[in-house]
Each structure stands twice: as structure tokens, then as C-alpha cells.
């Protein structure tokens, strides 16, 4: 903790304290103004978070300033902490996922008849926990690393990256705790309420400016393509987030707000957001990751740089049109549905170009893939990326969608992407990144990486197959007619038919979660080993680096 603070100049420590003070005042105002409303409790979350961090900064306040030689090194402390946070969110988010999956199989498993423990409130903790907690932290941590390396420039200062990382995690914590209190906008994947949304905009603008400032310092005339993807992620998510979350709060003291849009416009805006959150949060950013860590780990340049450029613009352009395929056969005008369908199919071209580019990079290095589980994570990610983009385009076709929509097939599709692509590429990148960051040859245990790989792969396959089966059966049961020309099954028949698949799904999730726990242990052991080695070398006691930046510490 002290060592982290000592990486900042005294001025930066002062700025940090001022920001934390302002934040705790905001928390206090929320707690006071929101009495009698869940807003008050959210205020306390903000207050505890910022006061806790202020103590941490103060603990290191009088540590010696970093010397000028720091400017000849990259600034990696935020990346290191970001990696630790990524792993923590992965375990938490996936654990909640397994829990809610079990609730669907055995609804009486809920141990208390309390609102916060019910499925409806826990589910967004899972979705936000994995998408924003795990995915978002992974993107921020790796983007700082990739940005500096490809620009050959150090981050412009030591405060801003912390503001982005910590501020973003405050958003995640406020969101997750809010769900348990029943605070949600009900917009899928945009559940946090207006004050959290405003805070995220501030964090995001700073993130964006940090990116631009570092790019401005770059020593390479050309911006490496991975940064394009990260930039598109930052920029477009900002646009989506702001537009979709436009709302009028009930009052300054209420957590509740009402969306500016209603009905069909709201539906289109929500799925324009929702689908592009998939595109620019869960695809673009992670492609950025892939375009750096895959060639780096394989020791081979990307197969075709040109192709990566073409697919970049393809993805940036096509995805934006595809959102309306979430609304086939609804009250949305049909021409918009058709447009969404057409572009979803065209989207396959840049998507497969990216996936193919990744696989072609590995072509000729298959022996490495065979021996190195890290590279195998990345390869499987590329394969699942290809598969789930194909599946996505397929499901966007109206008649297919008439069967798949509203069923578990959608859930299976999402998890093929989320587990198979997003999580796999993240774990692969983390396993490559952690040894570099902590200056070790390898992870603590390459064997555990192997174990993780097989758990993750098995978990994904079990999950996806369970959901394919249940989804297609559901869809067919709903539309099956008997000879008399009436519907053959009641809705409840379909619910009952799902039971075995829901058990299988929970089991698949459990396998995947176990893999994440293995990963967390491996990362932790690696960090500890690195610290021991360093201590042995220098003979001095070096304060603990990681695991230290959680809220409230």
C-alpha cells in the first residue's frame, strides 16, 4: 500500500486526497439527502470507500518521492492492481452466477426469505460482476500496459491511471450493492441508476483523456492497431452509455429515475446500447487484447496487419446497425428489423476476418499451442469468437430468431461468447502478463494453468450444450401444435422440461468457476513468489504490492 502511494509525487498525493475528500463529501450528501431512500445507503457505500482510501493514501503520504529515473520506466502499478481486481471480480461474479443458476434448478435453495437474496436482485450482480467487474478491470489493466508498450511512452502522470481504475471500481461497487437494495433502471446491462451513471461518465472522460495524452507522447508515428480497438471501446461505450442512460431522477434524494425514452424508442435505444455493449465492450476491447498478447506470446507477428485494419472498420461500422435483431416480430417497425438482420449477417465478414487472422497467426506454431496452455487459451478464445459470431449472425435471421428469442438459446449464445471468447482471451492474456509485470520467468505453476484450461474448456462446453438443448426444446415446445390444431404444451410443461438442463448448466458454471479459483490462486502464488525473490535479492523488506487495494482497507 505504502509502496503504491510512494510511486506518486507529493502533489499527486495531495490531488488524490482532495479528490477523495470531495468524494466522501458527495457520499455524505447522498447519505443525508437520501434518508428514507436506498440512496442514503448508497451514500454510505461511497463514504466508506473514499474515507478508507484516504487513510491508505495518508499512510503513505510521508514516504519519499519517486525520483526522476521513474520516467525512464513504464508505470505499471495500476496495471498490477488492476490484474488483482480482475481476478477478484472474476471469482465473485462467477460465484454469484453459479448460485443464481442453482436457484433456477432448485428455487427453494434460497436460504432466507429476504429481498436481497432473491434471484431477481442477485442476477444483475452476476451480469455486472462479470461484464463490468471482471471484463472492465481486465480491459483497463491491459489497456494501460498495451498503450505504454506500443507507444513506447510512459503514462503522462501517476494520478490519472489510479483515478480511472479506482473510480471505475467504485462504480462497480455502487452498482452491485445497489442491486441488492433493489436499485436498478431495469435496462439490461445498464442497470445502475443515474448517479452511478454520471460518475462513470466522469471516470470515462478521464480514461479517454489519459489515452489521448499518452498517445500524444508516443514515440512511434503509427498507432498500433490494438490501440484502435481499445480506443473504439472507450469512445463508443461513452456514446452508448450517455444516450441510453438519459433519465430524469425523481429528486436529488431519490435513487430512482425515469428513462427519457419510452416504449418502442426505448426498446430500440436499449438494444442499440445492449448489442453494442457486446460489440465495443465485450468484443472491440478484447480484440485489442488479442492483437497484442497473442503475437507477443506466440513470438510471431500478426498474420495480416491489413486485415486487422479492415476488420476494425468493419466492426466499428456494422455493429451499430445490428441492435434491432433483438426486437424481431415485435412492435418495432419491420424495416428496422430487416436492416438489423442484414447488417448482423454482414457482420460475420469482419468477425471471421479477426478470428481467422488470430488463427492464421498461430499457423506454423501449433507445437507451441500444444505445449503452452497460455497460448491455447488464446487459440480457443479465437475459435469461440468465430463460433459465437457465426451463431449470432445466424440467430439474427428473423425465422431463426422466432424460435431462439426468449429462450435459453440466447443465454447459451451469450455464454459461448462470454466464457469461450471474453474470459478465455482474458485469462490467456493475464497468464502472459502476470509474469512480465512481476518480473518472473513464468507463472508460479504452469501446471495449474493447464488445470485451469481444461476446467474452463469443459465448463464452457457443458454450459453451452446444456443451453442449446434447453433453448431449442423450449422454443419447439412453445410452438408445437397437436393434431387438433391447438398448442400441444402448456408453458409449465416447458419449465419442467428445462430442469435437467438447468442442473447441467449450474454444473458447467461450477467447472468454469473452479477454473477461475485456480487462476486466482496461481496469480496470488506468483505474486508472493516474486516478492520473496525480490526480498532475497535486495535484502530489504519490500511492502506488499497486491491484494491491497480493496475497498475499505
Amino acid at each position: 500500500m505504502v509502496r503504491l502511494v510512494s510511486g506518486m509525487t507529493v502533489t499527486e498525493r495531495q490531488i488524490a486526497l482532495v479528490v477523495l475528500l470531495a468524494l466522501s463529501l458527495i457520499g455524505l450528501a447522498m447519505a443525508a439527502g437520501g434518508r428514507g431512500d436506498p440512496m442514503g445507503a448508497q451514500g454510505f457505500v461511497v463514504l466508506v470507500f473514499s474515507v478508507g482510501l484516504a487513510f491508505a493514501v495518508m499512510a503513505g503520504y510521508y514516504a519519499p518521492e519517486p525520483d526522476e529515473s521513474r520516467l525512464t520506466r513504464y508505470y505499471d502499478d495500476p496495471t498490477k492492481v488492476g490484474i488483482v481486481l480482475t481476478v477478484i471480480w472474476a471469482v465473485v461474479g462467477m460465484a454469484v452466477g453459479v448460485w443464481v443458476a442453482s436457484l433456477l434448478a432448485w428455487p427453494e435453495l434460497t436460504f432466507v426469505d429476504q429481498a436481497w437474496a432473491s434471484f431477481g436482485r442477485l442476477r444483475p450482480v452476476h451480469t455486472s460482476g462479470v461484464i463490468f467487474g471482471f471484463g472492465g478491470n481486465a480491459l483497463i489493466a491491459t489497456s494501460f500496459h498495451v498503450l505504454q508498450r506500443t507507444s513506447r511512452a510512459r503514462l503522462p502522470d501517476q494520478f490519472t491511471p489510479w483515478f480511472v481504475l479506482i473510480g471505475y471500481n467504485l462504480f462497480c461497487i455502487v452498482a452491485a450493492s445497489g442491486y441488492l437494495m433493489g436499485i436498478t433502471q431495469s435496462k439490461e446491462y445498464a442497470e445502475p441508476e443515474w448517479y452511478a451513471d454520471i460518475w462513470l461518465v466522469i471516470v470515462w472522460v478521464v480514461y479517454f483523456l489519459l489515452y489521448l495524452r499518452t498517445l500524444a507522447r508516443r514515440k512511434e508515428p503509427h498507432i498500433y492497431v490494438a490501440n484502435w480497438y481499445y480506443m473504439a471501446f472507450i469512445l463508443v461505450v461513452a456514446v452508448l452509455h450517455i444516450v441510453n442512460n438519459l433519465a430524469v431522477p425523481v429528486s436529488w434524494g431519490h435513487a430512482k429515475s425515469y428513462s427519457l425514452f419510452s416504449g418502442v424508442q426505448d426498446a430500440m435505444t436499449e438494444w442499440w446500447y445492449g448489442h453494442n455493449a457486446v460489440a465495443f465492450f465485450l468484443t472491440s476491447g478484447f480484440l485489442g487484447m488479442m492483437y497484442y498478447y497473442l503475437p507477443k506470446r506466440a513470438g510471431r507477428p500478426i498474420f495480416s496487419y491489413r486485415l486487422s485494419i479492415i476488420s476494425f472498420w468493419g466492426i466499428t461500422f456494422f455493429y451499430m446497425w445490428a441492435g434491432s435483431h433483438h426486437l424481431h416480430y415485435t412492435a418495432l417497425p419491420q424495416w428496422v428489423q430487416t436492416l438489423g438482420m442484414s447488417f448482423s449477417i454482414m457482420l460475420l465478414v469482419p468477425s471471421w476476418a479477426s478470428a481467422g487472422n488470430a488463427l492464421a497467426t498461430l499457423n506454423g506454431a501449433w507445437h507451441k499451442v500444444r505445449d503452452d496452455a497460455v497460448l491455447r487459451f488464446m487459440m480457443v478464445a479465437a475459435v469461440f469468437y468465430g463460433l459465437s459470431t457465426f451463431e449470432g449472425s445466424f440467430m439474427a435471421i428473423r425465422p431463426v430468431n422466432s424460435l431462439s428469442h426468449y429462450t435459453d438459446w440466447t443465454v447459451g449464445h451469450v455464454h459461448a461468447g462470454a466464457l469461450g471468447w471474453v474470459a478465455m482471451i482474458t485469462f490467456g492474456s493475464l497468464y502472459a502478463l502476470v509474469p512480465w509485470m512481476w518480473k518472473r520467468e513464468t507463472m508460479y505453476s504452469p501446471k495449474l494453468i493447464e488445470v485451469h484450461f481444461w476446467l474452463a474448456l469443459a465448463g464452457t462446453i457443458v454450459y453451452v450444450f446444456a443451453m442449446w438443448n434447453s433453448g431449442i426444446i423450449q422454443g419447439l415446445m412453445w410452438r408445437t401444435y397437436n393434431d387438433g390444431g391447438t398448442l400441444a404444451y402448456s408453458f409449465l410443461d416447458s419449465v419442467e422440461a428445462m430442469h435437467p438442463y438447468y442442473i447441467a448448466r449450474a454444473f458447467g458454471g461450477l467447472l468454469f468457476l473452479s477454473g477461475a479459483v485456480v487462476c486466482a490462486s496461481n496469480v496470488w502464488l506468483t505474486i508472493r513468489a516474486a516478492q520473496r525473490e525480490r526480498r532475497g535479492e535486495t535484502g530489504t523488506d519490500v511492502p506488499i504490492v497486491a491484494g491491497a487495494m480493496q475497498a475499505g482497507e
Partner: protein, 245 residues
Amino acid sequence: MPEFFHRKIERNAIGFVLAIVGVASIGGFVEIAPLFTIHQTVEDAPDMRLYTPLELAGRNIYIREGCYACHSQMIRTLRDEVERYGPYSLAVESKYDHPMLWGSKRTGPDLARIGDKYSDAWHVRHMINPRDVVPESIMPRYGWLARNELRVDDLGEHLAAQRDVGVPYTQAMVDNATRDAYGQATPDSDAAAGVSERYGAATQVRAFDGDPSRVTEMDALVAYLQILGRLTEAPYKQQSTAAGE
């Protein structure tokens, strides 16, 4: 000269940023912008009524508990859906829904036309323990709804905020929101008359949770469920004529 142009925007990161935003915004703009002129083509429903304060509070509970994650409120224009759930949903039906609750998943059945299909007592029992009335159900229990007193003191502010985003609540509705919420769930009180006066004679005024002595969250949620699909008769009329042709 695209080559020159791209090299230029790329060297200057700001230009690159603008290019990304520009390229990315087009799709959304082209698809969403026309929807804001759509009222010119959308079906008209002059009988469309507003949510009462109690129903709005119920809707907020529906949102709070995440019901939308497992129940859709959008019947698609497919034969099996129409036969299972009722007339397909029209755009006009959710025009006062800020936000819409069309949903994306049917772990449970669609609720767009659930109103008046079951009795209040059935809903209450079902919420307290779904397996009491539907043994195969996998829905969670919502026992606290019956225990929690409904917060009504701030409903005026809620209606005012709704009015800010375009729902035509009158000043009288905003001023009487708290009283109307109480009145709708307390049929014997003086406050009950004002509800039908402001929201129409068809408004359901009764003790939804079976207990007229207090207004609970259960009152609000059941009131909301019972109005689903009954805000306008337009879909029933329109589609019965279509079938007759």
C-alpha cells in the same frame, strides 16, 4: 486520397477519435432517428389510460425485484404466441412506459396480457409462495411484499418526474398522488372516489392484498399486474376485426 486522409487522422489522435465516433454513430442514428417521427404511423388509441400512482408504484416494484429478467411483456406477431398469450403487442401500449419492460427472456411466461386473468387472491398466494398454487414453478418467493408497507409519501414526485419525461399527468394527479394510492387500495375510504374521477371509471379500486387496513407493496404489485394489457382496448379491437375479415 483515402490513404493520405487516414494517415493524417491517425497521426492526429483527435481526428482518429472523430472518425471512430462518426463511423460508429451512423448506424444508430439511421435506425433510431426515424422512430421519433413514428407517432405519425403508429396506431392511435384514444382510450389509452395512464398508470395510477398505485400501479406505477407496483411497476417500480416489478422493476426493483428484477421480474423483467424472466418475464417478457411483448407478444410477437407469431401465431403460437397470439394463441398462447393473446393479441400481439402494439407499440402504442407501451408509449407511457419509461422505461419499456419488453424483456428478452421467458424463464416464466409473457405477462403482457396477464391483467384480469387470475384473481387478486391467486396473485397474492403466488407471490408469497409460487409453489403453493403452481407446484412445478421455479419462481422465487416474494414474501416481503406482503410484509412491507408501501412508500406513498413521495408518489407526487414520481408522477412529476414522469410528467417531465412526457407522460401527460395533470397537476391534480400529481397533487393527489399519495391520496390516490391510498384510496385505490382502500375502497371504503373517502380517498377512493377521487381515483376513478381522475383515472377513469374502469379503474380497479379494491384491497388487492385482501387487507384494506394497510397499503402494502403487495397491493401495488398486484394492482400493476392486474392492469397489464388493459390500458387500452385497441389491440383486442384491431385484431378481432382483422380476424373477422
